[in-house]
């Protein structure tokens, strides 16, 4: 059989079949109970009757057994009229059979111990198939042992049972149908929020991510489902929004150098200039091409980072050596600007990570510090290990600092504090976002504290490594391409 498509139908079917099973069981128990009660009632009647008839038997002079029929006040009583009565001698000889019984035997030859010391009750059939309930009792009369058997028909009992069954057959389906309808209605009502949610979910597309599922206020399971789903939607919306902004920022950043290449080239073509002039024009175009190349390299790194396809090659990295190496790169710039850079701290501080990426991160931060610090200032790179097993690298400069309102956005992609100045300082606002990604990919954090006009401090925290140092960092630089 095919499974019904709707959950509410399935629920109702389940519910109705369980109910039908339970009702049938209850009804069967009722029938059995009734049957046994009616039968024990029959037994009680029979016993009472036996006790009555015992005293009514007498032997005539010729030794015939008779019963005094005129005893009863109400001889027309059903129990009296409809009773079957037989008296047997211990050897099985029939001493007496009442009129209703006639010639038919009642229960056959006696078995040993029948009716001795109490009443034996059992079911039997007459020759014509009538079901009877009979009770036997041994009675001593005038020195003769008489086995008295008294029986009533069980037909009434079965008629009552049949009536009950017939009633049940009518009532049960009605009850089940009513229960089924009610159950279906309930299931439908309970499940209706799901339908609403499904309808709403269907309307949600990447362009319309601000829609939320209804019913999220409810305190039940469905409400919880809606809340969880809505939280997921919120995260998705945020991610999409970020992506959209990233795409639009990226295309803007790409368009700027392209526009310059185009203008410079077009204007250059219109001129009838000297060779040197053309060279200058081409040179200017190539400068923009270099900018584009760097930008695309950075975008590629970011997109690989986003898709999780960057694999970090982790080794033990001595942080002081890393910081010194990163700082040494800018030696010449520092000398030009009469700046001084100090690297100080714990020599044995080490982390586990990708040397190339960590170095890149430090280089980016130090480059920022060098770039924005005024002539003659000091830059401090401090390395320490905290009690909570973190290696903290602080890069402190005494530059103009970063305005408070810009501080939370400083790690965002394409974010530049001074939008007008970026071309001369040569960044597209991706350096710090790459730093953030790198540090977080290493399980660390990077934060900024800055007081405007007093400089800023970048604080990089990474989990410390207690593994023994392996090899020299210089060996890792051997990856450079052959020339």
């Amino acid at each position: 059989m095919r499974r019904p498509r709707h959950l509410r139908t399935r629920l109702t079917l389940w519910y109705v079949s369980v109910l039908a099973g339970l009702l049938t069981l209850a009804w069967a128990c009722t029938c059995a109970l009734l049957f046994f009660q009616l039968r024990s009632q029959l037994d009680r009647f029979a016993i009472e009757e036996i006790e009555t008839v015992e005293g009514l038997f007498y032997f005539t002079a010729d030794g015939q057994l008779h019963i005094r029929e005129n005893y009863h006040n109400h001889p027309e009583s059903k129990e009296v009229i409809e009773r079957y009565l037989e008296v047997l001698a211990p050897d099985g000889a029939v001493l007496f059979r009442n009129e209703r019984l006639g010639n038919r035997p009642l229960g056959g030859p006696p078995f040993s111990g029948e009716g001795v010391g109490g009443y034996s009750a059992r079911s039997a059939r007459l020759l014509d198939g009538t079901r009877v309930r009979l009770v036997s009792r041994v009675h001593v009369l005038d020195g003769h042992h008489l086995l008295i058997r008294l029986a009533h028909s069980e037909e009434t009992l079965f008629t009552r049972l049949r009536e009950l069954m017939a009633a049940s057959l009518v009532v049960l389906p009605v009850v089940l149908a009513a229960a089924g309808l009610a159950g279906y209605g309930l299931a439908r009502r309970a499940l209706s929020p799901i339908e609403q949610m499904a309808r709403r979910a269907q309307e949600i597309t990447p362009e319309k991510l601000d829609a939320r599922l209804p019913n999220d206020q409810a305190d039940d399971e469905l409400g919880q489902l809606a809340r969880v789903f809505n939280q997921t939607l919120a995260r998705l919306e945020q991610a999409f929004e970020q992506l959209r902004r990233f795409t639009s920022d990226a295309s803007h950043e790409l368009r700027t150098p392209l526009a310059m290449i185009r203008s410079v080239g077009e204007v250059g073509l219109q001129k009838d200039g000297a060779r040197a002039e053309y060279r200058d024009i081409i040179g200017s175009m190539l400068e923009e091409v270099n900018r584009l190349t760097t930008l695309i390299d950075n975008l590629l790194t970011i997109s690989r980072a986003d898709s999780g396809s960057i694999q970090l090659h982790r080794t033990v990295v001595p942080v002081m050596a890393l910081a010194r190496e990163a700082a040494a790169l800018f030696e010449i710039l520092l000398e030009e600007k009469a700046q001084r850079l100090f690297v100080e701290g714990e020599e044995d501080a080490q982390v586990e990570g990708d040397y190339v990426f960590l170095r890149q991160a430090l280089v980016n931060v130090i480059h920022n510090a060098v770039k924005y610090s005024p002539v003659g200032e000091t830059i401090l790179v401090r390395v320490r290990t905290t009690a909570s097993q973190l290696v903290v690298v602080e890069i402190q400069d005494h530059g103009p600092g970063i305005p408070v309102e810009d501080q939370p956005k400083i790690f965002n992609r394409f974010y530049r504090v001074d939008k007008a100045r970026w071309r001369e300082s040569g960044g597209a606002g991706l350096g710090l976002s790459i730093v953030k990604w790198t540090i977080e990919a290493h399980g660390g954090t990077v934060t900024l504290s800055s007081v405007p006009n007093q400089g800023c401090t970048f604080r990089i925290s990474l989990p410390a490594s207690d593994l023994p140092a392996q090899g020299s960092p210089a060996g890792l630089l051997g990856q450079r391409e052959s020339t």
């Binding site: 400068e287 790169l329 710039l333 190339v356 990856q479 391409e481 052959s482 020339t483």
Partner: protein, 240 residues
């Protein structure tokens, strides 16, 4: 403009360029020819594979993304047949896997697009020179002399006081004398920087300003020049 001085022997050096972008192939061909090489261009993988079989080349410059057989396939076939011709792969995919795959397949070098043309020339020279001893520890340009073994640089009879990095730079510029070296080349070969993202341009520019001060500062005859948008060149423009 010419990228470098034409040496007479170069006319005998044959280079095959396999590149499906016709504009790119044309540029490569003209640039290499201007540097004095004899260049043949193929625009499809099939044509390239055929030409490699048909005639000997001293160097193959092979684009990875080709329609039909890609560069890796051609390279693999080439190496399977036992051809030892040096091969330089060009690709726009800067993925480490590609690089590793290329070098594993038997490429001798690997250049990521977009690249600076001087870089291509430098690598071409390096590949052609491979295996031959580089026995010229002595350079001279006009009145500038360098003795690599003795680590001395003399201008107009006057010994110049150079730092180790400046010395490396002068040696590198001398090796590429008359040809432009790009900032990327300097970053990689002098600063040993593997990542293209490292913001080294400012550093390189500052270093070159300082070196120029030492080399040319007090002389009228300028030898170290900046080529806008490309890089630097050691050349005697006022010479005979």
């Amino acid at each position: 403009m010419q990228w470098g001085a034409v040496c007479p022997y170069k006319g005998y050096v044959h280079i095959l360029v396999v590149e499906d972008e016709q504009k790119m192939a044309q540029a490569l061909r003209e640039g290499l020819e201007a540097d004095g090489y004899s260049v043949r261009a193929a625009y499809t993988g099939e044509e390239g594979a055929y030409l490699i079989q048909a005639q000997p080349f001293d160097l193959v410059i092979l684009d990875v993304m080709l329609p039909g057989h890609d560069g890796f396939e051609i390279l693999a076939t080439l190496r399977k047949r036992g051809t030892r011709t040096p091969v330089m792969l060009l690709t726009s995919r800067d993925a480490v896997e590609d690089r590793v795959r290329g070098l594993d397949t038997g490429a001798d070098d690997y250049l990521v697009k977009p690249f600076a043309f001087p870089e291509l020339l430098a690598r071409t020279r390096a590949l052609l020179r491979r295996g031959k001893p580089d026995a010229n520890p002595h350079f001279r340009l006009a009145d500038l002399e360098m003795d690599v073994a003795r680590r001395s640089v003399v201008r107009n009879g006057q010994s110049l006081d150079l730092t180790a990095r400046e010395f490396d730079l002068v040696e590198y510029l001398f090796e590429n004398q008359g040809r432009v070296v790009s900032r990327e080349m300097l970053a990689r070969d002098i600063w040993h920087e593997t990542s293209r993202q490292t913001p080294l341009d400012n550093v390189i520019d500052a270093q070159m300003v300082r070196l120029r001060r030492k080399l040319d500062g007090q002389f009228d005859r300028k030898l170290l020049h900046t080529v806008r948008g490309v890089g630097f060149v050691l050349r005697d423009e006022d010479g005979p």
